[in-house]
Amino acid sequence: MQLVVENLAVSYGKIKALHGINFSVKQGEIVTIIGANGAGKSTTLRAISRMIPSEPGTKIEFENNDLLKYTTDKVVSKFGISHVPEGRMIFGNLTVSENLTLSAFARKDSSEVERDRKWVFDLFPRLDERMDQLADTLSGGEQQMLAVGRAYMSGRKIMILDEPSMGLAPLLMLDMFEALKEINRNGTTILLVEQNARLALKFAQRGYVLENGNLVLEGKASDLLDDPKVKEAYLGG
């Protein structure tokens, strides 16, 4: 297992957002966690990249390293764990090119950085066209491309994505998931959380269902798509 999460619990003040969940991701896999708004999906990802603290007793290991010992910037730069956050969080006051340069801030392998940058531009030619534009001026779809491209450059072992489909028109959504497949084929493990359960389960190999801070179901994505409970609660009957 590449990523092992055990007994992950997170509280916001007195409110428990996650009640000790367990899941794992294999090298090269595409895994999704689906769930309704407020189920704790974003919280799970933020805890992995150490943007928020988790409760004592939590274990988060990546390639047998205890991630809880590290700060967010180290989780990204030392272990190659990239995080596409909710709402994209691109730097609107920087150009597209600067956003990508910044994402490789801690990397010393400059020739590989250059290669990754080319790869990102091949994957998203729109970014190449708009290289010197301020990121603020991009459309929503282009901003999502930038967020993904930036994440790819910041760390390539695993990419965790927080609702990459959010705010995208259906066709752009499909394009985005095609691009993510390409990134996965190129060797990056993918863990994504989604409200759009149908799309996520079609795309992923395995899935988990998160409800009120607990993982209630897990299995092959194709099995979850056929599961009556999943169908009723998340796929519109």
């Binding site: 700060t71 910037d73 990204v76 969080m89 006051n93 920087l94 910044l102």
Partner: protein
């Protein structure tokens, strides 16, 4: 007309002091969204460091090195030392307060300032020190306009510093990280960038700039005292607000504008009225442009 040109040079000189100091306020605000109210006293500390370095270099090398070279050495060494002071303040004074209410950070700044002022009094006593003259002052008379080489030096060095800073902010990856932090604080660590590098770096640059302003100030007004940074610091803070919180360009422009307003008001009115009128004008400007010249709306930003 001659009188006007003469005042223009004075305005540029004072504007340079305000601009270089106010940039330190603005950068820290842009990156960390707090005002470092110790900045005026960092300027004072920087000036005294410059005084120490200049005195030492003169004692050691005045026989072999020319004054301008000692001046450059003083500037470089002082900047470096003051930068450490700035980074240290971030580490000790502000880092522990990152999640705390903004008011705590403001109070911390004021306290650090008081510690510097009283610390200076305790260590150096009440005697006043005089900044050594590194560049021999020479007066020129061009078509009836009198000015000194020191004034020109102050203006030129300040412009060079600001240009260098601008290049650093625009071109280097550290500059990119600073700009990124001013836009979205939360996403910066996700790029593998440690906030604990960028934050002290920002303080270090601000303190380094202020210390050079201090050396230049010492060349024009050699008598130093521990409270020299208070009024100048507040005025530079006003310039930072007027320029637009977080905007370096704005802070520099507003600094010069402040210099102009002050000098030209002193031309027309008794000098005791100078600050009253000058800051009333600024208050009026801020009434109509509360964000200053280049300020961004920060309310939508995510912050830790």
């Amino acid at each position: 007309m001659d009188h006007f040109l003469q005042n223009l040079i004075n305005a540029l000189q004072w504007g340079s002091f305000y601009a270089v100091i106010s940039i330190g306020y603005s950068m820290v605000y842009g990156v960390l969204m707090l005002f470092n109210f110790a900045h005026g006293d960092i300027f004072m500390v920087g000036t005294y460091i410059g005084l120490g370095i200049a005195t030492m270099l003169l004692a050691l090398f005045s026989a072999v090195l020319p004054g301008w070279f000692i001046f450059i050495l003083t500037v470089v060494i002082t900047m470096f030392l003051a930068a450490f002071v700035g980074a240290f303040i971030e580490l000790v004074g502000y880092r522990p307060l990152r999640g705390a209410p903004r008011a705590s950070a403001a109070i911390t700044g004021l306290m650090i300032g008081i510690i510097f002022e009283t610390g200076n009094l305790i260590i150096l006593g009440a005697q006043r020190f005089s900044f050594p003259e590194l560049i021999k002052s020479v007066s020129y008379n061009v078509g009836g306009v009198y000015f000194t080489n020191v004034k020109v030096l102050i203006i030129v060095v300040s412009l060079i510093l600001m240009l260098a800073l601008h290049t650093f902010i625009q071109k280097s990856k550290w500059g990119m990280a600073m700009r990124a932090m001013s836009y979205n604080f939360l996403a910066v660590p996700l790029m593998g960038v440690s906030i604990n590098i960028i934050a002290p770096l920002t303080f270090a640059i601000g303190a380094g700039l202020a210390s050079v302003a201090g050396i230049l100030y010492g060349q024009a007004y050699p008598v130093l005292d521990p409270y020299m940074g208070v009024l100048l610091g507040w005025k530079a803070f006003v310039a930072a607000i007027l320029g637009g919180r977080g905007s370096i360009m704005g802070a520099a422009l507003a600094g010069y504008m402040l210099g102009f307003i002050e000098i030209f008001i002193a031309m027309a009115f008794p000098s005791t009225f100078r600050d009253l009128i000058a800051y009333s004008i600024i208050l009026i400007i801020l009434t109509f442009r509360p964000r200053g010249f280049f300020g961004m709306a920060h309310s939508t930003q995510l912050r830790l």
